[in-house]
Symmetry: C2
Subunit: 133 residues, 2 copies
């Protein structure tokens, strides 16, 4: 399964689900029109509450990423981030990231440390240049 929340990250489960569904769509693992797992079976598989999955799906619909059809199921929206050419772009990026993470692991860095490195890079590059120490 593409989707697997991690309770130890501090990020709310429903937000992790939102991110992972987006990621699956961005990388082409889920394609426009395709049906997502139903709320109840998915909740059971992930051993989390039905309401938590429902909340994630509702947030995804609010952002226009998926479409909820009452009684029918949840489906990847036809428009949005799943436009043609995007999947290739993301696959290249995926390889780049996998390579970077691989190198960092080879240097003996733990996942926590890698995560902090990336958070700092994302937060810091905007203000690049002003490093005092």
């Amino acid at each position: 399964m593409i989707i697997k929340p991690n309770p130890s990250l501090g990020v709310p489960i429903y937000l992790q689900l939102v991110g992972q569904v987006k990621h699956a769509i961005e990388t082409g693992a889920l394609r426009p029109g395709e049906q997502l797992p139903s709320i109840r079976p998915l909740a059971e598989e992930l051993v989390i509450n039905v309401n938590t999955v429902a909340k994630a799906y509702r947030e995804l619909e609010r952002e226009g990423v998926i479409e909820l059809r009452h009684g029918a199921g949840a489906f990847v929206a036809e428009t949005g981030r799943a436009r043609p050419g995007a999947a290739e772009k993301f696959r290249g990026a995926q390889a780049l990231v996998a390579d970077a993470v691989g190198q960092l692991r080879k240097r003996g860095l733990h996942d926590d440390e890698i995560r902090r490195l990336f958070e700092a890079a994302l937060a810091g590059l905007r203000e690049a240049g002003g490093r005092g120490g």
Copy 2:
């Protein structure tokens, strides 16, 4: 300032503080024995509550990263992740990560997308090739 929490990430502020202090120590921006900003001034600067900073510092002490001296202040622990040689390792890693993030940004990826890419890489490389579900 090295430390700056981001409320929009979903991660609790105090955990962001914990991570950023660890990162500052790992990269050598804060060195063993050095005094950290005091709870009250830091809370005021970040426009967050004193208790939130105190909670972060206490968590850092619990993990042995810093040392809290009642009445004197908070200090980076002499032992732990700030061992000699670590700073160089992290500086190399920092450059690697900055380069990767730069390339991803140049490809037009947003920060959210980059974050998801990395989360997926960190979560996925362990099960590369093996996972059926």
